[in-house]
């Protein structure tokens, strides 16, 4: 079966969907605002940038490996967070939920160290 739509009803339906979309927009914005704050750390030239980071509890931290060589992101206690081996352009995300100071390093190149302070 084929629904035939005349021009005026087509305009109406487009208008109606636009109204619906507009109505939905604030909801979308609200949910984005309610999402966790995010912070990026770049792994480049065998170092974490920034190496020291202070964030609010609940912040999502994402590390991206921009080197030609694989790296890892591992908390010094070897437990709080521990990434898989990140090859070039691979990412690791950790949500810093508990306040505290977390030192971390690359377990393959342990001279690479960083710190996250969660407030």
């Amino acid at each position: 079966m084929r629904i035939r739509m005349n021009k005026s009803s087509w305009i109406l339906s487009v208008a109606a969907s636009m109204v619906l979309a507009l109505a939905a927009l604030p909801t979308v914005e609200k949910s984005m605002a309610a999402g966790p704050p995010t912070v990026e750390v770049k792994i480049d030239n065998f170092s974490f940038a920034p190496a020291a980071l202070t964030v609010k509890a609940g912040t999502q931290i994402t590390w991206t490996n921009a080197d030609d060589i694989p790296h890892t992101v591992v908390s010094d206690d070897n437990a709080t967070f521990k990434s898989k081996v990140l090859d070039t352009d691979e990412k690791f995300t950790f949500t810093a939920s508990k306040p505290g100071t977390y030192s971390y390093f690359c377990s393959i190149h342990p001279k690479m160290t960083g710190k996250v302070v969660v407030e």
């Binding site: 694989p70 030192s103 342990p110 001279k111 160290t113």
Partner: protein, 322 residues
Amino acid sequence: MPQQNNHDEILFDHNHDGIDRRGFLKCMAWAGTGALCVLEGGVLKSYALNDPSGVKKAAKGELSFVQISDSHMGFNKPANPDVVATLKAAMDKINALPVPPEFMLHTGDISHLSKPEEFDTVDQILKSAPTKDVFFVPGEHDVLEDNGQQYLARYGKNTKGAGWYSFDKKGVHLIGLVNVMNLKSGGMGSLGAEQLAWLEDDVRHLSKSTPVIVFAHMPLWNIYPEWGWGTDDSAQALSYLKRFGSVTVLNGHIHQTMQKVEGNVTFHTATSTAFPQPHPGAAPSPGPMKVPADQLRGLLGVTNVNYVRKHHALALIDSTLE
């Protein structure tokens, strides 16, 4: 250039063996700039890398073996998009040696990402070696994710702990050490208490005239701590070897040739068969060094080690893949 008279290099010949520190440093520079360097029968000699007669002359001795390192199978970035071809070129070089090596050492970073297919590829290429005797130690790239379990299953038969072991060849005692496990934040390579205790015990029964060769992935001397090019507890390991007349330490990891003589210990790092790395501090990081394609093979290579019984000395010959 390298065929010049070497006598003018010897200023302080403490051991009356024709070698002094300056001679070695000079030799080191040649190795890095496209010449090969030979310590044969205790006398420093050098040969042009592509001088076949030099290589032929150097390849005589009681015991001759080859060290390869850092094949990084799986690496495919611009520094060297074809690490299979360069490893095969290394095998061709080894197969062309006038005297086939008694055995081969691979000082780690066999694979790039510890993937089974990467190890498989290397194993396949090594089948073309002139010897079936290949001894391995792991690099940090070989023990990713699984604490080295796969490495041990493949290469660790008859080894202790994380894969350390020793064996004897024609009166030379060889020791393979593992310094890439349980690395601590801010640190360098690590041997650990268990391995150190084993090492002390392993060499206890040896007479001090036994030539000892130690091989491990990361350097057992502090080349450049800022880049982690060293091993935190290597001094303790070397203290167990002090009483021996001839100790040679062979490492990989830094993808370039370096040598140092300290007392009776000669330290030597080998080039990679995959990609070069910058000289210490010469770049912001130790990442792969991108060089023009026509220069790449001049910076990759193999090391031929030649033991001459009469003099109790080892000749190390680095040759590039060109």
